[in-house]
C-alpha cells in the first residue's frame, strides 16, 4: 500500500474514512485535479460496506438462495440431496470476495497516487488533523476535508458482544452455524442475516418491539415478505420486548414480554442484536471545530454537504439518514465537485432502499404509507406478479410491483417492489423519478419479454392506456 514512512504534513484535501463515501470522494476529487490524502484504519479502503456489511452479507445471502432454491426444486421435479455445508469453506469464499474488492480499491489508491495514512484522525482545529498510525502521532494540515466516518451497530444497553451475543459484524464473521439463533430487531439487517443463517441450517426466531417487520416500510411489501419468512423462520414475535438476556454455558437465556405483559423464556445458542446503527461522530475532535451535530447525532450539513466549517464536508452515514452506501456515493460526488470549485448540489429526487431478503424488497421515492400519513393525494397501481410469465417460470408466484403517481400530473412519485430481483428492478423507478417521468412514459417504454421488468410496464398500463 502507499503508507509512507514520513507522513505528509499538509494536503489539499483530506478524506477521513475509507468507506464507500470516503473512497468514492477520494477518487472523484483526484480525478478533478485535487491532491488527496485518505485516512482510514484498514489496510485497504472499503469501510463497513465492503468489510462488514453489504458485500459479505450478500455473499452469505447468495449461499442462502442456492440452498433454498435447491430445496424448492423438488416441487418442480428436480430433487437434490440435503445440502452439506462446509462453514469454513463458505467463510473462506466470503472473505475472498471481500479481499478481492478491497484489494482492488487499495490498488486504485496507489494507481491514482492518493496518499493513504493507515490510522485514525482527529481534528486538532479546523485546519489540522492529528493522525494516529502505528508509527505514532503526526499532524496533517489541510485546505479542505471530507469527513466520512460512517456508523456502527447500536448495542442494547448493558449488553456486550461476545461469543454468543453478536452484532452484525460478528454475525458476518460466520464463526459457526448455531442450532438456534434469535434475531433482536425486525429491521433489514436482522432479516437479511436471519435469512442467511436460516438457509445455512439455523432455527431462527425474530423478536420485534413494534407491530410489524421493517418499520416504516410499505405494508404491501412487508406482507409479501412475511408470508415467506413465516415459513423459513421458527417464530416471528411482534409487539414483543426483550425483557432479559443472560449468557450461560449452554446458550443465551432470554425472557420476552408481550404486549399484555406476559413473560415467556427461551434459550438460544446465539443472539444477533440488530436494532439500528449510530453515526461515528465521537472521538473525531469535532468539538475543536465549529462543526455541529443535530439532535440525532448526525453532522449538520448544507446543500453541498458543507458543515458549519465551510471547508469541511460531511457525507455518508454521519451526515444523516438513510445510512446507505449509495447515498454516500451521491454525496461523495457532490462534496468532491464542490471542493474542486464546481457548483454541484445534493438534490436527489429519490434514494432507493433495498432489503436483500427472499423475496427482495425495494422502494424509492414516496411510499404509500408516507403519502397516507402526510395526506398527499396519490393514485396507485398495484400489480401482483402472479400473472407474470417470468415469475412463474422461476417457480415463484409471490411478488408485487406498485407505482405511486400524482393524480393531477400523472407524474411518478414512488415505486415499490417485492419479489425476486426487486433490488435490480427498482433502478428503473429511480431513473424514472429523476427524469420526472409520467406513467405514460413507463407504459410507452418497451420492456423486454419475458422478464420481471414487464411488471413495471403492466403496472403503468393500469394508470395509462394509450
Amino acid at each position: 500500500m502507499s503508507e509512507q514512512n514520513t507522513p505528509p504534513t499538509k494536503t489539499q484535501l483530506v478524506i477521513v474514512g475509507g468507506g464507500p463515501g470516503g473512497y468514492h470522494a477520494a477518487f472523484k476529487a483526484a480525478a478533478l485535479g485535487l491532491e488527496v490524502t485518505i485516512v482510514d484504519p484498514e489496510a485497504n479502503p472499503g469501510g463497513v460496506c465492503l468489510h462488514r456489511g453489504c458485500i459479505p452479507s450478500k455473499a452469505l445471502l447468495h449461499v442462502a438462495k442456492l440452498v433454498s432454491e435447491a430445496r424448492e426444486a423438488a416441487e418442480i421435479g428436480v430433487e437434490f440431496a440435503a445440502p452439506k455445508i462446509d462453514v469454513d469453506k463458505v467463510r473462506a469464499w466470503k472473505d475472498e470476495v471481500v479481499g478481492k474488492l478491497t484489494g482492488a480499491l487499495g490498488q486504485k489508491v496507489v494507481k491514482e497516487k492518493l496518499t493513504h495514512l493507515r490510522g485514525m484522525a482527529r481534528f486538532k482545529d479546523a485546519h489540522t488533523l492529528t493522525v494516529l498510525t502505528d508509527d505514532g502521532e503526526s499532524e496533517l494540515a489541510f485546505e479542505q476535508a471530507i469527513v466520512a466516518t460512517g456508523s456502527r451497530p447500536i448495542m442494547l444497553p448493558g449488553v456486550a458482544t461476545g461469543d454468543r451475543i453478536l452484532d452484525s459484524t460478528g454475525a458476518l464473521e460466520l464463526a459457526d452455524v448455531p442450532a438456534s439463533l434469535l434475531v433482536v430487531g425486525g429491521g433489514y439487517i436482522g432479516l437479511e442475516l436471519g435469512s442467511a443463517y436460516a438457509a445455512l441450517g439455523s432455527t431462527v426466531s425474530v423478536v420485534e418491539m413494534t407491530n410489524g417487520l421493517l418499520p416504516g416500510c410499505d405494508r404491501d411489501l412487508v406482507s409479501t415478505l412475511k408470508r415467506r419468512l413465516d415459513k423459513k423462520f421458527d417464530k416471528i414475535m411482534l409487539n414483543t420486548k426483550l425483557a432479559e438476556m443472560k449468557e450461560t454455558d449452554r446458550g443465551v437465556a432470554v425472557a420476552f414480554e408481550d404486549k399484555k405483559g406476559e413473560r415467556t423464556e427461551q434459550t438460544f445458542d446465539k443472539v444477533l442484536v440488530s436494532i439500528g446503527r449510530r453515526p461515528n461522530t465521537e472521538n473525531l475532535g469535532l468539538e475543536n471545530t465549529k462543526i455541529e451535530l443535530d439532535e440525532k447525532g448526525f453532522v449538520k450539513v448544507d446543500g453541498q454537504r458543507r458543515t458549519a466549517e465551510p471547508h469541511v464536508f460531511a457525507i455518508g452515514d454521519i451526515a444523516g439518514e438513510p445510512m446507505l452506501a449509495h447515498k454516500a456515493y451521491g454525496e461523495a460526488d457532490v462534496a468532491a465537485e464542490a471542493a474542486a470549485g464546481r457548483k454541484a448540489v445534493y438534490e436527489p429526487r429519490a434514494i432507493p432502499a433495498v432489503v436483500f431478503t427472499d423475496p427482495e424488497i425495494a422502494w424509492c421515492g414516496l411510499t404509500e404509507t408516507e403519502a397516507r400519513a402526510q395526506k398527499i393525494k396519490i393514485k396507485t397501481a398495484k400489480l401482483p406478479w402472479r400473472g407474470n410469465g417470468r415469475t412463474l417460470t422461476l417457480g415463484r408466484d409471490d411478488g408485487i410491483t406498485k407505482l405511486i403517481v400524482d393524480p393531477e400530473s400523472d407524474r411518478l412519485l414512488g415505486m415499490a417492489v417485492a419479489g425476486p430481483g426487486a433490488g435490480e428492478l427498482i433502478a428503473e423507478g429511480v431513473l424514472a423519478l429523476e427524469m420526472a417521468a409520467v406513467s405514460e412514459d413507463l407504459r410507452r417504454t418497451i420492456h423486454p419479454h419475458p422478464t420481471l421488468s414487464e411488471t413495471v410496464y403492466d403496472a403503468a398500463g393500469m394508470l395509462y392506456e394509450p
Binding site: 499538509k10 489539499q12 484535501l13 480525478a31 478533478l32 485535479g33 485535487l34 491532491e35 497516487k113 482545529d125 479546523a126 485546519h127 489541510f142 485546505e143 479542505q144 448544507d302 446543500g303 453541498q304 458543507r306 465551510p310 471547508h311 465537485e337 464542490a338 471542493a339 474542486a340 470549485g341 464546481r342 457548483k343 448540489v345 445534493y346 438534490e347 436527489p348 429526487r349 429519490a350 421515492g365 414516496l366 398527499i376 400524482d406 393531477e408 400530473s409 400523472d410 407524474r411 412519485l413 429523476e434 427524469m435 420526472a436 409520467v438 405514460e440 412514459d441
Partner: protein, 444 residues
Amino acid sequence: MAQDILVPEVSDGVTEGTVISVVVAVGDTVEVDQTLLELETDKAVVALPAPFAGVITEIKVAEGDTVPIGAVVMLGEPGGAAAPAPAAPAETLPAPAAPEPTPRPEPLPPSPAAAPPPPPADAPFDQAVDLGAVRGGDQVAPAAPSIRRLARDLGVDIHQVQGTGPGGRIGEDDVRAFVRAALGQIRSGAASPGGEFAGLHAQRPLPDFTKWGGVTVEPLSKVRQITADAMSYAWSTVPMVTQHDKADITDLETFRRNFNLKAPDTAKLTMTAILIKVCAAALRAFPQFNTSLDLARKELIFKNYIHVGVAVDTPGGLLVPVVRDADTKGIEQLAVELNELAAKTRERRVSPADMEGGTFTISNLGGIGGTAFDPIVYAPQVAILGVSRSALQPVWGGTDFVPRNVMPLSLTYDHRVIDGAIGARFLRWICAALEEPINLAMKG
C-alpha cells in the same frame, strides 16, 4: 453569550452593500454606536454602529465583501469588561493559503474553461449557488438531473421555470426559453437585471486594449456604477435642451461678502445657498419645472414640494444631497443646512435618505472654472441648473463700459415637458432675481 451584529435597514430599496472598511478588530472593546465598519450601498456609504457596548469576538466579513441587509457581519460579547477574544484572530482572518500547485500530470478539466483552482481554505465561499433553493425528494423540480444542472450553471432558479413536457416536466428548451424571456425583459427595460445596471447593457464588445499597450483595470465603485446608469439612462431617453444666460451678481456679491465678514463658519453664505432660494422661488413661479413625466400613463406629475439637490464633488465621485422644502426656508437657514450637508457628503457620512426626493438640481462648478457647460438632467427630474465661474466683464452701462461681476448660468431641461420659450423665461427669471433680489419678494 455572543450576540449577532447585523447589517441594519439602510433605506428603501437598498438590499446589500459592499464592505469598504472594517474599523475594528477581534478583541476590540467598543462603545454603543461606535462605528464597526463602513458599507457602500447603492445610495451612500453608511457606517454600521455598534448595537451594544462590549467586545468584538468575531468578524465574519472582509473588505470587498458584498453583504445583504440583515446579514450577520460580526459577533460581539455585550458588557463593559474586555473578555479575552476566544477565537484566535488567525482563525477568522487567515493568511490566504495559496493553493499549492500540484504537479498532477493530467488534471481533468472539470468545466468548459480552464479548471478553476480549488478555493483555498477559508476563502469566502462565493459559489453562486443558492443553497437555500436546494430541495430533496418530491420537492425537487420535475426535470432530469442534467437539466437541473444546466439551470444551476445558468443561474436559473429551476423552480421558476414553467415546464411544457408531460405533467409539466421541465426540459432543456424550457430552461432556454426562460433565459431568453428574462433577457428580453431586461432589454426592453421591463425588468432590471439584478445587481447590474441597465445603462451598460447597450455596450458593444470592447477591443482588447492590451494590443496597444499596458492597461490597469479597476472595478467601478458603487457610486460610479449608479452615476453611469443614471447618466446613460437620461442621455438616451430624455431629449434635452440647454440654454445659457448671464446674471450680473456684482451687488449680490458685495452683500454676500459683507455678510460673511460677521457670519460664523457654519453659517457662511455661499452662492449655491442663494441659488437654492432663487431656484425654489422660480420653481414656484414655473411649476412645470418641478415635475416628472410618466409617459407610460400619459401623465405629468406636479410635486407640491420643492427639494433642491446640490451636486457635491467628493473623492469617491459625484453625490447629490437634497435640501428639503427650500421654498419655505430663508437663505440664512438654507446656508447653514447646505454647509452641514455638504460637509457630511464630502466625509461620506451622508445617508441614502439625504439623497432621495430631489425635484430640481443645481450643479455649481464655479469654484473650479469654466465659462459654460451643458449639465445632464437628473431623470426623473426635468431640469437642472449649471453654474460656471463668475468673472469681471465689461458691461455697457449706457454711456460707457463698466466692470461688472457676471455669472454664467446654463439650464438644461427635458424638452418633452418644457418648451424653449418657457425655458428661456425661467432662466431669465433666475437672472433677474439674482441681479435685483427685490424681484424675489416681488414675484416669489
